[in-house]
Amino acid sequence: MSDIVLSSGIRNNLLSLQNSAGLLDRTQNRLSTGRKVNTALDDPLNYFQSTALSTRSTDLGRLLDGIGQGIKTLETADNAIRAMTRLVETAQAGARTSLQSASTNAKIGSGMDLASRTAIDYVAQPNLVGPNGKFQAGDTFTISGTDNLAVAFTFNVALPAAPYTGAQFAAAINASAPGLAGTVNAQIDSAGRLIIDNVKGGTLQVALSTDAGTPNTLNDLFGTYEPPLATSTPTNTGVIVTTLNVTRASFANQYNELLAQITNLAKDASYNGTNLLYGKSLDMIFNEEATTKLIVRGVVFDSAGLGLATTDTAYKFQSDVEINAAITKLSSSLKSLRAQASTFGANMTVAQTRQDFTKESVKTLQIGADILRAADLNEEGANLLALQTRQQLSVQALSLASQSDQAVLRLFN
């Protein structure tokens, strides 16, 4: 057996044949995959670079899904807030309208029961006791009545030593009904008249129960003729009984229904299990290492979360005081809704910018991975020179110029 001996010439030919076969294989492979570099053996540097670019583009693609879901969640919450804002506005309009239906709750003031009397002006002549005051220390008023659930109340306000003004008296009434806060409301209205109001809409009675010193009448409190009438006429006790104002009562019902709808809306505002209006938070991750992310904190925006409750209408909107309190609450819940809408809006802008940016990044990575080829530096250089000329009058150049003008850079021009 003798070995086959190859001359060096033949050996060279064989080797080059083998090489061409390999090259052919590779070319075929490239044609079928559309890529210049497929394995690490083709061109290690380009191969690993290309793989890295592809991997990153896949990673970013996965992040994009998350950002997209996040944006949807924000949109859902935003829509719900808009609907809730409309509901709150409706409730507010209802409350305002019911204010226009005259209140029929028990109210004693110079404007009503003692309407024919000339009102005492507690702004121009403020004293009950003291200079120009008609009462004395020790005079005591008893205020009593029932609320619209027929629960009775009664309390006394005794006048102290001089000087003591009508406004102080009103404040004392408001403060001296222990456990009845909000039941009776006394105020000096814009015309300087004292008005005592049964907020809860039942009966109201004001009596001068202790009359120390000079004899007085209720006229001396709510309005009077000069000279004062005799002690016996009119009586020292004024009584007013209320009737239910059905217009106001129906607005109160509507208010409660709107609250229920707001709560339902808040509970239904979830997207993909995340409800930003019912206390869940949302994390949106913007890069693979999760070093940049947007955390959107959720809020609880059912009617209670907005500070609204059915107890706002416990007395069926019979008194202006109750309605005004409800309107104030509605205004502040509108403020919360608007503030939250703008927070979500800002978050959405950030997320959308990130989404656009990530999308574009994925595109550039794909260009990088797919076109990767043995760079023809001459060609690329020529391309860049051509681009340089082309860009001089481009939209982008104009846009950069206008953006620079708005920034600190204008100081450099």
Partner: protein, 130 residues
């Protein structure tokens, strides 16, 4: 810890939204707090950004100074796409710039953009010399 910056006579520097200019002598500044800081030699303007890579740098610089990518990312990507179509071999540098921007590290993005300018100069030199 304060950042120490030394300015040449009449040199300017951007700190936040203001430009500070040195008097006609060397000046040393100590800057504390968070604000975008850019020395005159690192600043490109519309007039000096006269090549594709420099325009990309300018776009990143605008993002850095505003600390906000929102108003600028559209024009940035237009420029980047044009650049990659002309010179695909720059993909890895562009990728790094993108990554830095995504990671909210705009200063490093600016540094990477500077490398893109150098790379562009290299490519253009091929044509001009050959």
């Amino acid at each position: 810890m304060a950042l120490k910056v030394e300015l040449k006579p009449n040199e300017r520097i951007i700190v936040g939204t203001v430009v500070i200019r040195a008097d006609d002598q060397r000046t040393r500044l100590f800057i504390e707090g968070e604000a975008p800081i850019l020395r005159e030699k690192d600043i490109l303007t519309v007039t000096t950004a006269d090549s594709p890579a420099k325009r990309i740098y300018l776009a990143v610089q605008l993002m850095y100074l505003a600390q906000d990518i929102t108003p600028h990312h559209q024009v940035y990507f237009d420029l980047v796409r044009q650049f990659l179509e002309a010179a695909p071999s720059a993909a890895s540098i562009v990728n790094e710039i993108n990554n830095r921007i995504l990671s909210a590290d705009l200063y490093k993005a600016l540094k990477a953009s500077k490398r893109l300018i150098a790379y562009e100069a290299e490519l253009m030199a091929h044509v001009q010399s050959g």
